[in-house]
Amino acid sequence: MPDQRKKLVEVQDLTVQFGSRRHPFTAVDHASFHIYQGETFGLVGESGSGKTTIGRAIIRIHPTASGKVLFDGKQINGPISRELDREVTRRIQMIFQDPMSSLNERAKVDYIVSEGLYAPGRKISEAQRREMVDKALCDVGLLPEFASRFPHEFSGGQRQRIGIARALIMEPDFIIADEPISALDVSIRAQVLNLLSQLQKERGLTYLFIAHDLSVVRFICDRIAVIHKGKIVELAESEELFAHPLHPYTRALLSAIPQPDPIAERNKKLLVYDPACHRYSETNRPGWEEILPGHFVLASREELEEYRELL
C-alpha cells in the first residue's frame, strides 16, 4: 500500500559545513529524512552530533553546503523569494535548548512573546497584538498578567512555556523543539511534554523533537532518527527502533538509558560504540538501506546481511 501521508518537511542529502572553505568542518553529512504532517519526529544523538545544526539549517539560520530542504513541497534552502521567506519565517518556529539563556533578559514577556509579529509586512494593531499575547500565554497555561514581568522572575518550567508561547503566537504548522526539557527539573519535564502533545492534538502541529535522552523520545515520538557525528545512522518508527535496534551506535545509546529499577540497572550491560568496528574501506562502503519498510540503516553489504539475522 503506498503511503498516503503528506510529507510536510523533506530533507534530502543535506550537508552543512563550518569553518573556512579551505578547512571546512562538516557538521551535517548527507542527511536525508522527511517528516509527515502531524507527526512528531525525533532526532537523537550525543552532544556535538549536529542535531541543532540540522534544525538551524531548516529555519535558514545556517546556509547549506549541498542538498535540499523542502517545506510543503517547496525548496526553502538557498536563495528564495522574499514572499516565501516570509511564509517560512511564520510557519516554522523553533523552541530553544536552554530556557535560562534563550530569552532576552531585558525585555518584558509581552515583547518577547510578540517579537515575531513585528516582522515587516505584517500590519497588526496594538489592541490585536495585546489580544494575541494574552491568548498565547493562556494557551501555555500562564496568566495574562505575566506579560508585564521580566524573564528572571520565572521558574525554569515557566520560562520554557514563555518560549513555547513565543512560537505559538505565529500560528506555525511546524515546530522545531530543540531539547525543550533537558535543562528542566524532572517534575516540570512532564508538564512541558504534556503541553506539547496537547497542543499537537488541538492544532495538528508537526514537531521535530531534538533530544539526547531516548527515554523521553520514545515516549513522545512517532519516528526516530539517530545521528552520530553528522551522519544519520538509523531511522525507524519508535517502537520498531526499540524492538530492533540494528546500528551499533543505536544499540549503545539504548543501553545507556537509565532505568528507574535497581535490579535491571545492576544487570545492565553497557555497550560502547567503537566506530572502528565497521571496517569500512574503498570497496566496503556503507549505504543508506531500507532493511524493512520504513526502517533505514547506514550499512555495508556485509553488515546488512548481519543485521537481517537480528530481525
Binding site: V216, P262, A264
Partner: protein, 350 residues
C-alpha cells in the same frame, strides 16, 4: 544490614539552616537528620529548590554569607562541624576529608592553567609528592579517569576538553586529594546519557579503588538506581523518605516519592499524558504547617494540613515522614505506576 551496625562516618542531627534575604527569613533546611555509613553510596534526590545543595554545603562550610546554621549538629570524626567558625578550621576538612564535585565543571577548573598543572597541585598538596613522582601520579590519575594519551593531555587547557572530559578531570582532582567522603552535586545533569553513564561508572570505580564514601545529589530518581546503596528523598527542606535503593524504588511510602517516580518518562504510556505533579513547592519564607507536600497531594488526609508527621519506621533501614504510616491512617494504595514498577521488578520494558 551489617553496615548499619557500624558507626556512621558522618552524622547529621536535626539540622536547621536559615537564609536572610532583604529582611525576610527563608527556612531552607527544616530539621534534617541523616547518618552516612563508611563506604556506602547514598543519593539525595528532590526537585529544584528542595535544599539538596544547601544541605551538603553545610558539611564543608560553604554556606553563602547570608545563611546560618540555626540548630542541630554535624558530627564527623569526633568533631561537631557546626562549631567551626574560621577558614582554618575548615581547611582541615575541605578537600582532604570531604571533597565535592560540582554540576558545572567549568566553575571548578581554572581556564588559564593546564589540566596537568591543576591536578598536580592537588597531588602535591595532599599526597606530599614532588617533581617527577608528582608528575607520574598525575599521569596515573588521568588514566584512572579514562583519559588516554595522558602526557599530551597534561599540557592542554580546559577549553580543549569536551564537557564530559572536563567533568572527569574535576573528579580526578577531587580523588587525588584522597578524601574519605566524595560529594557529587548533580555531576551529570549537563551531560548526555552516554557520557552520563560513563561518569557514574567512573565514580563507582573510584569509590571501590579508594574506598570512598559517596554522596550523590540529583533531581532525577531514574539516574540513581544504578549507583546508590541508599536513597534519601528531600522535599521543601526536609528528608521525607529514606531507605535502601530497593525499598525506595519497589516499596516507596511517601506520596511525594510516588509523585517523583510517577513523573519519570520511562514509566509513561504512549499517547497518554505523563503524570505531572500539580502546583508548586511551598514558599519557604512562610512557616510550613503539617506535611509540606499536602497542598499538592490529591489524596492528602485532614491531619496532613495540621500537624507535621513524625518519621515512621517501615523496616530497620526504611523510614518515611507521612501520616499514612500511622496505625490510625486509612489504607491508601500507591498509584498504579508504582505498583507496576514493583511487579515488573527488574524489567521495566517487559
Amino acid at each position: 544490614m551489617g553496615e548499619q551496625l557500624q558507626n556512621p562516618i558522618l552524622s547529621i542531627e536535626d539540622l536547621n539552616v536559615k537564609f536572610t534575604l532583604r529582611g525576610q527569613v527563608l527556612h531552607a533546611i527544616r530539621g534534617v537528620s541523616l547518618d552516612v555509613h563508611p563506604g556506602e553510596s547514598i543519593a539525595i534526590v528532590g526537585e529544584s529548590g528542595s535544599g539538596k545543595s544547601v544541605f551538603v554545603k553545610c558539611t564543608m562550610g560553604l554556606l553563602d554569607a547570608n545563611g546560618q546554621i540555626t540548630g542541630g549538629a554535624i558530627r564527623y570524626n569526633g568533631m561537631d562541624l557546626t562549631s567551626f567558625r574560621t577558614d582554618e578550621d575548615w581547611l582541615k576538612i575541605r578537600g582532604r576529608e570531604i571533597a565535592m564535585v560540582f554540576q558545572d565543571p567549568m566553575t571548578s577548573l581554572n581556564p588559564l592553567k593546564t589540566i596537568g598543572k591543576q591536578i598536580q597541585e592537588a597531588v602535591e598538596l595532599h599526597q606530599g609528592l614532588k617533581g617527577a613522582a608528582a608528575y607520574r601520579a598525575v599521569l596515573e590519575v588521568l588514566s584512572d579517569v579514562g583519559i588516554d594519551d595522558a602526557p599530551r593531555r597534561y599540557k592542554q587547557y580546559p577549553h580543549e576538553f569536551s564537557g564530559g572530559m572536563r567533568q572527569r578531570v574535576v573528579i580526578a582532582i577531587a580523588v587525588a586529594c584522597r578524601p574519605r567522603i566524595l560529594i557529587c552535586d548533580e555531576p551529570t545533569t549537563a551531560l548526555d546519557v552516554t557520557i552520563q553513564t560513563q561518569i557514574l561508572e567512573l565514580i563507582k570505580a573510584m569509590q571501590k579503588k579508594y574506598n570512598l564514601t559517596t554522596i550523590y545529589i540529583t533531581h532525577d530518581l531514574g539516574v540513581v538506581a544504578n549507583v546508590a546503596d541508599r536513597i534519601a528523598v528531600m522535599y521543601a527542606g526536609d528528608i521525607v523518605e529514606v531507605g535502601t535503593c530497593e525499598e525506595v524504588f519497589y516499596d516507596p511510602r511517601h506520596p511525594y516519592t510516588w509523585a517523583l517516580l510517577s513523573s519519570l518518562p520511562q514509566l509513561g504510556v504512549k499517547n497518554e499524558p505523563l503524570y505531572a505533579i500539580q502546583g508548586t513547592p511551598p514558599n519557604l519564607f512562610h512557616e510550613i504547617r503539617g506535611d509540606a507536600f499536602a497542598p499538592r497531594n490529591p489524596r492528602a488526609l485532614k491531619i496532613d494540613f495540621l500537624e507535621r508527621p513524625p518519621m515512621f519506621a517501615v523496616t530497620q533501614t526504611h523510614k518515611a515522614r507521612t501520616w499514612l504510616l500511622d496505625p490510625r491512617a486509612p489504607q491508601v494504595a500507591p498509584p498504579e505506576h508504582i505498583r507496576a514498577l514493583r511487579e515488573k521488578g527488574g524489567n521495566p520494558y517487559a
